[in-house]
Symmetry: C2
């Protein structure tokens, strides 16, 4: 190639000066966290390329990593940039989560707004806004309205993440056939391919990092493509046109986030993702009701009942009423009924146009069922399986939500079962387009669903969803979602989730937000009768370990009825919390989570382990030192283990205080659940 330098820069600069300046930034901007330990530096190099770098205690965490953007109809914004303006501000705000893993939130950060302007070519100006917290950073492109830049057709972000230190990565692949339901890979960071976010890293120096995004609104989800070494580049999920994203200026992208902790648990306790989302846009959300629920669901996965109509049909009036009565008797708020609506009888997979969202099967009297539920203070959890055909669903969306609204249905589980890239949306051209589950079109679709649901005071629980980026702060009726391998894989077996799965989820998928994992399987056998890799104590622990405001007791009712002592913990455990701590744990190995009941004094603790039995000493210093507590302990019993005796459970009590240490003994594939009843 002809040398661009010779053609351009060398013409502008004496050669010696050029050579000397080759590695020196021309300009830079810097901001540090409130505690001054985390710092971001933005620089431009001699070609006018902009980079940011992140350090902690003066040591690099993210090496210089490029910023920029490519377009389908305009030159990329990447070279010939200068920092023409920089502004900093400090922000310290206390706010409340209406429901969630804690009530009191603090958004304390320093912000740097850098204006990058092209000094040749189109002379565009982009702001990049960095918010630096004590536990990480977020940054976004903020593109002001400007002449000639009314519409952005974004081909790709050029945002990089160059991990400074050698690290172990836990990740799931992007752009594969499934959506998010993979077992996590654990590899050196240099062996990551194309990964979804959040991706979790543990550096050889011991830091824990999570790279993710916050506030994914009207944009395509970000994945990470490793370029070489430890350097990743944003890889946006494809859109349905030539561009991955099309937006009008002014526009701000989602926040790209890098959370930094010393302990794995620091990532769990971080409030960064929610802090980077916009405040509640719905106003009064007292109608959003966190609850436990049972449902007509697990028995389909065991192949005892069917979604389809016929002799095995699960969603019958009678069966629903049985579940409603059970829920009411046990203080649960909801009953999920899948397979209630017509559309399940043919080859529905990938053929979502078969579904009606307003037509029950004849053996499901939705009026009677919901009337019976309302009378007992229980709600039907509605179900809208779209098989990924978002366009078909949207055409019925208002009618579907209005029906549920009229019937007092307080929450709906939506589903998008289709292979990755095989969702279907209706484009602006009125034509059907195949789409990725996390592309801009689907992000917009989910937004429309959440808003339609809100109009009818309905909460939403999407399965096969867009990943969680903290939107529940802005739309508190977006209460939970799936987005990982849930319990149903254990029904199918071949293979089910391995014993370390939940201890991996805690530090990966669950960093994004609540998950409708559907715990509480007391039967603990796959549909072919092989053991699931869990103990009963672990099933109880999952109610604390995995936060979900809609939390299922997923097993067959008779399994609960036959084990009332164990079931007592499921009855007791809240789904809404005042505070959350992660006192112990290692990614993929074990996890211990403690939470205080929202509006209460009791604490709950859950511990889960992988294939290795272990004893974890947990300091109870999260308890109120002014109180004593009765610890109701549900632990793996003698000989317990997922291969040996999953049902061996010991329930015992101890008097404890904040100064005590709990020796948390967990069997292979096991766990422990504790309720600390405050005196």
């Amino acid at each position: 190639m002809p040398n661009r330098f010779a053609g351009l820069l060398a013409a502008l600069l004496p050669l010696a000066a050029f050579a000397a300046a080759a590695d020196e930034p021309r300009t830079s901007a810097r901001v540090a966290s409130p505690d001054a330990r985390v710092a971001v530096e933005v620089t431009t190099d001699n070609e006018g390329r902009a980079s940011y770098a992140v350090s902690r205690d003066g040591r690099p965490v993210i090496a210089p990593s490029r910023l920029g953007m490519m377009f389908t109809d305009a030159p990329k914004f990447e070279r010939n940039l200068a920092i023409v303006d920089q502004r900093t501000r400090t922000h310290d705000e206390h706010w409340e989560l209406p429901w969630g893993e804690r009530r009191h939130m603090r958004d304390h950060h320093n912000e740097l707004r850098v204006t990058l302007a092209e000094h040749s070519g189109p002379k565009r100006r982009f702001d990049v806004v960095f918010r630096v917290f004590d536990d990480g950073i977020g940054f976004r492109y903020d593109i002001p309205a400007q002449p000639g830049l009314e519409r952005l057709s974004i081909a790709e972000e050029l945002t990089e993440f160059a991990v400074a230190d050698a690290a172990t990565a836990w990740w799931i692949p992007a752009f594969e056939w499934n959506r998010e339901e993979y077992l996590y890979h654990r590899t050196p960071v240099e062996q990551v391919g194309q990964a979804q976010t959040p991706i979790t890293l543990r550096t050889d120096g011991g830091l824990h990092l999570s790279i993710h995004e916050a506030a994914l609104v009207d944009y395509s989800g970000m994945n990470l493509a490793r370029v070489d070494g430890r350097r990743f580049r944003a890889a946006l999920t494809p859109g349905i046109g030539a561009a991955k994203v099309v937006v009008a200026a002014p526009f701000a992208t989602p926040w790209r986030t890098i959370q930094i902790g010393e302990r794995a648990g620091d990532l769990v306790e971080s409030q960064l993702i929610l802090n980077l989302n916009a405040p509640n846009a719905l106003g009064d959300v007292s109608w959003v009701r966190p609850m436990k629920y049972v449902g007509i669901w697990w028995e389909m996965h065991l192949d005892r009942r069917s979604w389809a109509s016929g002799p095995k049909h699960g969603a019958t009036t009678e069966h629903a009423i049985r579940h409603i009565d059970f829920a009411a008797a046990n203080g649960f708020g909801g009953v999920l009924v899948e397979g209630w609506n017509v559309g399940w009888d043919g080859d529905w997979f990938g053929n979502g146009e078969t579904f009606s969202f307003t037509t029950p099967y004849p053996d499901f009297d939705i009026e009677a069922v919901t009337r019976h539920a309302r009378a007992q203070g229980v709600t039907l959890i509605g179900h809208h399986e779209t098989s990924g055909h978002a366009g078909h669903y949207e055409a019925q969306l208002e009618d579907a939500m209005a029906l549920y609204g009229r019937l007092g249905v307080q929450a709906v589980k939506t589903g998008y079962v289709a292979d990755a890239g095989q969702a279907k949306v209706t484009g602006d051209d009125g034509r059907l387009h195949y789409a990725w589950h996390e592309g801009q079109a689907m992000v917009r679709h989910h937004q429309r669903v959440v808003e339609a649901a809100a109009r009818h005071r309905i909460s939403v629980n999407p399965h096969e969803p867009v990943k969680d980026t903290g939107l529940r702060r802005t739309w508190p009726n977006l209460v939970t979602r799936e987005g990982a391998r849930g319990m149903e894989y254990n029904a199918w077996g071949q293979p089910g989730n391995p014993p370390g799965h939940e201890a991996t989820l805690v530090y990966t998928r669950l960093l994004a937000g609540p998950m409708d994992f559907t715990p509480g399987i007391f039967g603990m056998e796959t549909r072919s009768g092989t053991p699931m890799s869990t103990t009963l104590a672990k099933q109880l622990a999952l109610y604390v370990v995995i936060h979900s405001p809609l939390q299922m007791a997923a097993d067959l009712l008779e399994h609960y009825e036959s084990r009332p002592e164990a079931f007592q913990f499921v009855r007791d455990v809240p789904v809404d919390w005042e505070d959350t701590r992660a006192p112990a744990g290692e990614v993929g190995t074990f996890a211990v989570i403690a939470r205080r009941a929202r509006g209460g004094d009791d604490w709950y603790l859950g511990g889960v382990t992988d294939d290795d039995a272990r004893v974890v000493a947990v300091a109870l210093d999260f308890l109120d030192p002014a109180r004593r507590y009765t610890a109701q302990i549900y632990r793996d019993g003698e000989g317990a283990g997922w291969r040996t005796d999953p049902h061996a459970l010991i329930i015992e009590t101890r008097e404890v205080g904040a100064g005590d240490t709990l020796e948390l003994a967990m069997a292979s594939g096991g766990g422990q659940a504790v309720r600390f009843v405050a005196h």
Copy 2:
């Protein structure tokens, strides 16, 4: 997610049968190479997903790897497939290359054509055609015309390449800012990110593999995205619309190729890529003239002359005539003149619309220059730098080629200097689109250029090209191209090409086809006066090691004039060959290539090494055992080495025969060139 199995397959199959069949292919097809050592097996699994696998001597080379395709406007072709037909045939054909690395080619393979049909949904039928050679395989999707499939909007190929064994990979990244001009990474295969092809692998078991493609016509270039472990998936270069490729059926994709060799040199000697291209489509190509050339070029990279007009302008009438006279005096066929046409005076980088391809600068009398050249049997090598603006170039293409045709210009070097993704094409909508250099639009563009040039009997040498996939067989005027870091990086320095660069190219980029690397720098200093990582002997060796039918003597003429003894080898060495051998070498370390002159009896040998000096014993068994030869040896002299004394050169002769062994001694960064003059 609801279980698709429960909804679909379990409804069709008894559960026990389903469980038993989970990992068993339903159907399979198999074909082996003529020598029966390489075999391909195609299978479909219980979900109707099709895979192929490659073995050699019964050991897996490519583990089962998926086949399929995604579309923007139709469901993917990937599941519910059955092998409904399979046909095999044997092919053994001898054919001639009109010019190239050897004359006599043999296309000997067994072919398997598998028809995959969907047994549900759209019920489409795709053929996959495998050709299995003794040294590897090629396969392509061949999509017949069928109702409802008139037009294919391909979102992605789902073709996988799962490397069976642990291996070392040599690769350059895809979708980065540059096009193909990277230094090669050498990593474990598990550390490859997104890679361009050809990618070279050396398995721990010692096999050498090259994964690439052949006959890239009307399609987007294939890259490889590593999914996990050693499993890659095709990642097509983006197109300019929502689809990466849009074609009408019937259509056959380029061949996906996997070359297999025991020695690294086996890959060099493989004829597989050319065999998978279509025969000569141009008829009489006697006007395609392989030649050496000098040019007004290196001095621009040294910053002594300029492309732009003004006092430093290189492309003056006088300077061109000086070069023509030099070429004629030394038996060279051509003179490249860059900067001859208006457009170089502003910021041309990324602004190709500044160029006129028919308007010389006033100080370049193109009529006089070409008249002078023709009179001496020399041709001007034309130059069309587009700065990536293919649309602008195409608008002038016919006029530009007609001008050259009228002036007797026999070859044109084209250039597409723009960052990756920043080429510009005019879409069917008449609008400007930013494009990737290897997307379908640019592939089509290059095709139009080659065909326009052929109409005027002009050969084409694209720089910043589409990668070579063997199209020179079909369009023999597509003689050479760039597509890797060439010699100019050594002019710029900071940093230049490392000493092992050429020994890497031989087994990577050069497997694709000829390269206009522009060797022969006798000065061996960067423009800032630092040493290049080469010796003079290596510069001579490159004329044999790197095949290019347009082969430059790239240095300043005065450097050749001051070293006539060394220059004699450049004068002698052919550019067109009867045969080519790769008797010794290891990827990235050293390479020894031997070639026999087209239509002659003399052999030429070149050896290059990396930073390590070494002595390589080369058996001369490629020589005709019935003859004796005088070996004219150009070797690194006493104390030679790129850091120490790059000019130390010893020229000596020896009498040798086919039974002899040559001890090829090479200094650090050095090499050796030998002409074997047949008696």
